[in-house]
Amino acid sequence: MEEEEFEPLIIAFCCNWCSYAGADLAGVSRFQYPPNIRVIRTMCSGMVHPNLVMDALTKGADGIIICGCHIGDCHYLEGNVVTEKRAEAIELMLEDFGLEPERFRLEWVSASEGDKFARVMNEMVETIKALGPSPYKMG
C-alpha cells in the first residue's frame, strides 16, 4: 500500500484588522496556498494567550502561526509589541516541551499583503511537512 503523504494541520491566529484582512485579500486575489491552514480570528494578535499555543501543540497541532499587524500599525496601538515579547516566551517553552522551533512562527501581515499571507502559509506548510507530524500526535 502506498503511504499517504503527511498532511499537517496548522492553526493560524490572525488579528481582525490586518492579518485576517490580508488572508481575505489572498482570497480576493486568488493567491493559492495549501488547504492545511485553519485560521482563527482574534481581535488582536496580543489576545493570543501562550497557553492556547502550547495547548494546541500538545493536543496535536503540527504547527502554529500567529499573524498580526506590522509593528507601528497595530489597531490597538501596541498589542503586537506584547505579542512579540510573548513569542519569545513561547519559543522557550517549545524547547521545554521537546518541540522543534519551526513549529511556531510569528509573522506580520498587513491588510494589503495578500501575497505575503499566501507565501507565508506556503512556506509554513512546506516547513512542517519536512519536519513530519507533531510528536504529540502519536500518543
Partner: protein, 1008 residues
C-alpha cells in the same frame, strides 16, 4: 415661509441612489427611492468584478442592497416614473406613476416557482440578451425587492403563474396608478445608458457573432451569466484562444457627436482582460487604445500588473477603423498601427469597449424637473457646485452629471445627500421611525440550538466546495438542529428565511458559512436580532476567501476544509453568550483637519447640518493649494470663489477656525474624541464626536529637467502664476510642457490625475494670450477624462502640438548657447523632434501632505504605499476610514480636481452626519470583562493595556479586603491583551474567551 418636509426623493436606485438614500435615512430623513426598473441595483448589479481590487461586485454591493431594501426609513418605489414636480425647495409636491407589476409586493416571497412554469421566453436584459428569461421574472438573483414582476409586453395572459402561486400574490387586474408625495429635496441619480453600437457599423456588432460589447463580456465572466463564468465564442461555443478589445467605441468620437471620454472604459477593459484570462487558460488578450486613462487611485498599479504579471498586450495610439470577418470560421481581422508599422491580426473574439451616454429619459427629467442639461444631454453642473442642478433644492450625483466610476459616484451620492438635507435639517427625525428590533429572547436556561446556513455564493464557493455535502455534515455536528444551503446567504430573501427559521426551529445561535465576517457579519447580526436573538449569538465560517478562492484547484480538499471550518464555527457558537449593548452619548461636533477647499467646505457642511465644526489649519491662512489656482478650465475665477468661501467660513458662527494651529494629540473614539491643540502659544482642548481628515497635498519640486538650475523651467502652478500675473515675457514664441514629471515612475508609481487637464488649461490660456506662440505638450497618455476631453480636442484644434514619449525614452532638456533645447523622439513618426522653448512647464506630481504619517499614528488610520490615506473600501466607502467616526476628503485621499474635492467634502459631511444625528450610539460590545472570583488582583493586566482601561481596586468580601481589577468599558477596545496576560483566566473578552478559542482549536484538531 413654506413648511419644510423632512423627506427626500431619490430618483434612481443604482449604487449612487442607494448610497444617497442610506445616508439620508441614517441621518433621520424619510426617503422615497424611485426606480423605473422593477428592482433596484442599477448598472453595478450587472458587473462581475470591480477594478482595481477585483472585488466581486455583487459581494460588495449585496449588503447595501439588502440594507436599502430593509431600511425602515426608505420606501422603495420600483417600476415607477416621475411625472410632475411642483413647489419649491423645502416643500415639493411630486407626482409619480407606478406601473402595474401585476404582483402584490407584500405577498410575493420571491420563491420563483411562477417563473419555472411561465411558458414565455424573452431575451434577458440583465444578461444583455445572451440568455432568456420568462415573462414573469425577477431581474437578477439577489434583486431587491426580491419580488417578481410581469413583463406586460410579453405576457400572454395564460394564467399559469396565478394558479401556481401559493402566496396568491399575482394580481392580473392590478392597474398602473398615480401617487403624490411631499418631499423637502430631490436627488437625481438616474445613471447612464450605453452607446448604441449599431451606430458604428464598421465594427460588425450584431452582424459578426464574435463581436461582443464589453457588457456582454462582463455578463459572460459572471458566475450568474450565460455560461457560469466561461468565455465562449457565440458562433460555435468554442473557448477562444485570443481576444481583442477596441477602446473608445462611442467615446472621443466627433463623427457620432460623443466627443467626451467615458472615463471608465479603459479600466473596465483591463479588468475584463485580467478576469477573462483567469477564467480561460491560455487566453491571449490584446487591448487597442488611444490613451490609457488609468487616472484613479491605484489604477496605474493595476495597469502595470495587467501588463507585467498577466501578460496582457497593450497597443497605444490606436483607433481601430474597422473589423472584418472570415465568413467561414467567423474569426475576426483588425488592422492596427504598432509604432511606425501597420499590422493585421486575427482574433477569435473582438470586444467593443462601449462608451456611456446620458440616460435615455434625460429629456423627460429635464422637462419634469426643469433642470439644465449640457451639450451631451448630461446634467449641467458647475465645478464649485458639482452636486447642484440648475434648480434649487434638486441635486445630482453619479454618472448623470458626467461619466464616472463607482467610488466617485458613491462619494457624490453621499455628498448630494448632505446637500439635500442641509436646508431641511430642522426637520430631521420628524418623519422617520426608529428601527425597532423585537425583544431579545432569554436563552440563559436553554441548551445550544444552532442553525447553520451554508452559502454557495453563486459559484464562488459552490463551484469548488461541495456545499450540499457540507450541509449534510453540519447536520451531524453537536448542537446543530438545522442546516441549509443558500445560493446567496446575503440576499434579502435569505434574511427573511433566517428570521423565520430561528422562530420555527427555536434556534438560539446561528452560524453562516460564506465569506468574510469583516464585511458581512453586521448584516447577519442584524438579521438574527430581527429573529429575537442577541446579535452576538452569531459566528461565521469563511469558506470563500479562506477556502474556495485559495484552494480553487483542489475541490475535495477544499470541501473537507469547509467542513472543518464549519465544525470550528459551531464549536465556538455553542459557547457564545449574549452581550449586552453599551450606549454612549455623542459630542455633536466635528474636528476638521486642514483648511483647504475640502476642509472649509466640510466645515460649512457640518455647520449647515446644525453641528459645531472646529477647523484646524497649520498655516496662518485658510485656502491651501487652491490658493495657487487662478482660473478654471471652464473659465471661472477661482480666487473670487475662494474669497467668498473663506468669508463664509469666517462668518459662520458654528465654524470655529484655528489657523497656525498644531495638533498635539487626539484621544478617544467615535462620539467622544478629545483633541489637544497648540494655538497662539496656548494648549487648547476640544471635545468632538467625529474627525474629518482634509490634509490636502503639495506640488512636487522636481530634481530633473534643469528645474531649480534654469529660471525658464517652472512647475505647473508656477506657470499658471506667470500667466496670471504677467510673468511671461513679451515675445514668448515657444512653450514646452512636459507631462508626468515625478508621476508614474518607479519611486512614485501613481498618476497625479489633474496634471493633463491643467496642462490643457494652461496651453489654451497661452494660445489665447499669445496666439502666435507654439505650444508643445510632451506626454505619455493624455488623461483628460469626462468632458475635459472636449478641451483637449479644442487645444489640438487650436494648434497645440502633442508629442507622445515613452518612459524609457523621455524628452531631454539641455542648454545650448544659452538657449533651452528639448529633444524627444516621436514614436509614431520614429523621428527625433527638437524644439527650442522659451519656457518649459513641468506637469509635476501631486504629493501627499508630509503630516499624514503623524496623523496616521494619532488616529490609527492607515496610509497607502504612496502615503495618501487609505479608505475603508476603495469602491463603496471612499470617504470612510475603517476606524469608526473618522472620515477623509480631498487630496488626503488622492490627487483630484476641485469639483471632486468638493463632492468628497460633502460626502464626508454626510457620513459624519449619520453619526452626529444620533442621540446616543451603540458601541461595539466586544469588551473585556473581569471574573472577580478568579481575579486575585495581581495587576499583571494593568500595565499592558494599551488604553489604560484597567485599574486595580479593592472590595470587601466576607469581611475581608480583596483585590480585583475594574474595566472602563468606554476606554476598552476589546483587544484582549489583558486576557492573554492573565495567569488566572480571570479576565476575558466577550465573544473571544479562552474557552471559545479553545473550542475552535479542539474542533480544528478533531480528525474526521
Amino acid at each position: 415661509m413654506v413648511d419644510k418636509v423632512g423627506a427626500v426623493l431619490v430618483v434612481g436606485g443604482g449604487i449612487a441612489g442607494m448610497q444617497a438614500s442610506l445616508d439620508l435615512a441614517d441621518s433621520g430623513y424619510k426617503v422615497y427611492l424611485l426606480d423605473k426598473s422593477p428592482n433596484i441595483g442599477g448598472a453595478m448589479s450587472q458587473l462581475d468584478k470591480t477594478f482595481p481590487t477585483n472585488d466581486c461586485a455583487m459581494c460588495i454591493m449585496a449588503p447595501k442592497l439588502v440594507e436599502t431594501g430593509r431600511h425602515h426609513n426608505i420606501e422603495l418605489l420600483t417600476g415607477a416614473s416621475l411625472e410632475a414636480v411642483q413647489g419649491s425647495p423645502g416643500n415639493f409636491l411630486v407626482t409619480i406613476k407606478k406601473t402595474a407589476r401585476k404582483v402584490d409586493e407584500t405577498k410575493c416571497t420571491g420563491c420563483g416557482l411562477c417563473t419555472n412554469f411561465c411558458p414565455v421566453e424573452v431575451p434577458d436584459e440583465y444578461n444583455v440578451g445572451l440568455v432568456t428569461r420568462k415573462a414573469i421574472y425577477v431581474k437578477y438573483p439577489q434583486a431587491v425587492p426580491a419580488v417578481v414582476s410581469i413583463d406586460l409586453e410579453h405576457c400572454i395572459g395564460c394564467g399559469i403563474c396565478e394558479g401556481q402561486c401559493e402566496a396568491e400574490a399575482i394580481i392580473y387586474d392590478q392597474e398602473e396608478h398615480m401617487m403624490d408625495i411631499e418631499v423637502g429635496s430631490i436627488v437625481v441619480a438616474p445613471g447612464f445608458d450605453l452607446f448604441d453600437l449599431a451606430r458604428k457599423p464598421q465594427y460588425g456588432y450584431g452582424v459578426y457573432p464574435n463581436v461582443l460589447s464589453s457588457l456582454e463580456l462582463e455578463r459572460m465572466l459572471s458566475a450568474t451569466g450565460p455560461h457560469a463564468g466561461m468565455v465562449l465564442r457565440p458562433s460555435d461555443g468554442e473557448v477562444p484562444r485570443n481576444i481583442a478589445f477596441i477602446q473608445c467605441v462611442g467615446s472621443r468620437d466627433k463623427q457620432i457627436g460623443n466627443t467626451y471620454c467615458s472615463s471608465v472604459c479603459c479600466m473596465f477593459s483591463i479588468k475584463e482582460a485580467i478576469i477573462a484570462k483567469e477564467h480561460t487558460p491560455g487566453l491571449e488578450a490584446h487591448i487597442f487604445f488611444m490613451d490609457m486613462r488609468a487616472y484613479g487611485k491605484e489604477f496605474d498599479a493595476y495597469y502595470s500588473r495587467a501588463e507585467e504579471e498577466h501578460g496582457i498586450r497593450f497597443t497605444r495610439g490606436n483607433r481601430i477603423s474597422s473589423v472584418e470577418e472570415d465568413p467561414v470560421t467567423h474569426n475576426l481581422f483588425m488592422t492596427y498601427v504598432d509604432g511606425a508599422d501597420l499590422k493585421t491580426e486575427e482574433f477569435d473574439i473582438v470586444v467593443l469597449s462601449v462608451g456611456t451616454e446620458a440616460p435615455v429619459d434625460t429629456d423627460k427629467l429635464k422637462q419634469v424637473l426643469g433642470i439644465d442639461l449640457n451639450a451631451h444631454s448630461f446634467c449641467e453642473t458647475n465645478i464649485f457646485d458639482p452636486l447642484s442642478t440648475s434648480e434649487p433644492g434638486i441635486y445630482v450625483c453619479g454618472a448623470f452629471s458626467s461619466p464616472k466610476d463607482i467610488p466617485d459616484s458613491v462619494a457624490q451620492a453621499s455628498g448630494a445627500a448632505a446637500m439635500a438635507s442641509s436646508h431641511i435639517s430642522t426637520e430631521r427625525n420628524k418623519l422617520v421611525e426608529i428601527r425597532e428590533f423585537p425583544p431579545e429572547k432569554d436563552i440563559s436556561d436553554e441548551d445550544s440550538r444552532i442553525g447553520a446556513f451554508i452559502c454557495h455564493c453563486g459559484i464562488n464557493i459552490g463551484g469548488v466546495v461541495d456545499v450540499p455535502a457540507v450541509v449534510e455534515y453540519a447536520k451531524t455536528l453537536p448542537n446543530v438542529v438545522y442546516a441549509e444551503d443558500n445560493v446567496y446567504t446575503c440576499s434579502q430573501d435569505t434574511q427573511s428565511k433566517i428570521v423565520e427559521t430561528i422562530k420555527e426551529h427555536n434556534l438560539n445561535r446561528v452560524i453562516v458559512a460564506s465569506c468574510t465576517p469583516r464585511t458581512h457579519a453586521p448584516l447577519f447580526m442584524n438579521t438574527i436580532r430581527d429573529g429575537g436573538l442577541n446579535p452576538y449569538l452569531f459566528e461565521m465560517a469563511n469558506i470563500r476567501e479562506h477556502c474556495s478562492w485559495v484552494h480553487s484547484k483542489e475541490p475535495e480538499k477544499a470541501t473537507q476544509k469547509a467542513k472543518d471550518l464549519v465544525r470550528m464555527a459551531v464549536a465556538k457558537a455553542a459557547l457564545l453568550e449574549p452581550i449586552p449593548p453599551i450606549k454612549i452619548s455623542i459630542a455633536k461636533s466635528a474636528l476638521i483637519i486642514g483648511g483647504g477647499i475640502a476642509g472649509m467646505t466640510a466645515a460649512l457642511g457640518i455647520a449647515d447640518q446644525g453641528f459645531d465644526a472646529y477647523l484646524v489649519e497649520k498655516k496662518d491662512e485658510l485656502g491651501g493649494m487652491t490658493r495657487r489656482i487662478h482660473f478654471a478650465l471652464s473659465g471661472e475665477d477661482v480666487q473670487a470663489r475662494m474669497n467668498e468661501l473663506i468669508d463664509k467660513v469666517k462668518s459662520n458662527e458654528r465654524v470655529h477656525v484655528y489657523t497656525k494651529a498644531k495638533i498635539k494629540d487626539i484621544e478617544g473614539f467615535i462620539g467622544s474624541f478629545m483633541t489637544t491643540l497648540e494655538h497662539e502659544g496656548e494648549e487648547k482642548q476640544i471635545r468632538h464626536g467625529v474627525v474629518l481628515v482634509a490634509t490636502g497635498g503639495i506640488e512636487l519640486k522636481p530634481d530633473e529637467y534643469l528645474y531649480g538650475e534654469d529660471p525658464r523651467v517652472v512647475t505647473q502652478l508656477e506657470y499658471e502664476d506667470m500667466l496670471t500675473n504677467g510673468g511671461l515675457k513679451e515675445g514668448t514664441k515657444s512653450v514646452a510642457m512636459i507631462q508626468c514629471v515625478g508621476s508614474r515612475k518607479e519611486e512614485r508609481p501613481y498618476c497625479s490625475r489633474i496634471c493633463c487637464t491643467e496642462t490643457i488649461k494652461n496651453a489654451l490660456k497661452t494660445k489665447e494670450m499669445m496666439p502666435d506662440a507654439n505650444v508643445y505638450v510632451f506626454h505619455r497618455d493624455m488623461r483628460t477624462y469626462g468632458f475635459r476631453e472636449n478641451y483637449y480636442r479644442e487645444a489640438a484644434e487650436k494648434g497645440v502640438v502633442f508629442v507622445r514619449y515613452y518612459p524609457e525614452n523621455p524628452p531631454k532638456l539641455t542648454v545650448n548657447d544659452g538657449k533651452l533645447e528639448l529633444t524627444a523622439k516621436d514614436p509614431f513618426l520614429d523621428e527625433e523632434i527638437v524644439v527650442s522653448p522659451d519656457v518649459v512647464m513641468l506637469a509635476v506630481a501631486t504629493l501627499p501632505n508630509a503630516d499624514n504619517e503623524d496623523l496616521s499614528t494619532f488616529l490609527k488610520i492607515p496610509l497607502t504605499k504612496d502615503k495618501f490615506f487609505l479608505e475603508a473600501h476603495m469602491k463603496l466607502r471612499p470617504v470612510d476610514f475603517a476606524t469608526e467616526g473618522v472620515f477623509l476628503c480631498g487630496l488626503a485621499h488622492s490627487p483630484k480636481f476641485v469639483e471632486e474635492c468638493l463632492a468628497q467634502a460633502n460626502a464626508a459631511v454626510s457620513r459624519a452626519t449619520t453619526i452626529l444625528a444620533q442621540e446616543e450610539l451603540e458601541l461595539e460590545a466586544t469588551k473585556s470583562c473581569v471574573i472577580d472570583a478568579k481575579c486575585d488582583g495581581c495587576a499583571y493586566c494593568v500595565d499592558p493595556c494599551p488604553y489604560d482601561a484597567i485599574t486595580l481596586i479593592e472590595y470587601m468580601s466576607d469581611g475581608a479586603v480583596k483585590k480585583t481589577v475594574d474595566v472602563d468599558e468606554t476606554a476598552c477596545k476589546g483587544c484582549g491583551v489583558c486576557q492573554a496576560t492573565c495567569p488566572k483566566e480571570g479576565i476575558f473578552v466577550r465573544g473571544f474567551t479562552l474557552d471559545q478559542i479553545n473550542a475552535m482549536i479542539e474542533a480544528a484538531l478533531e480528525v474526521t
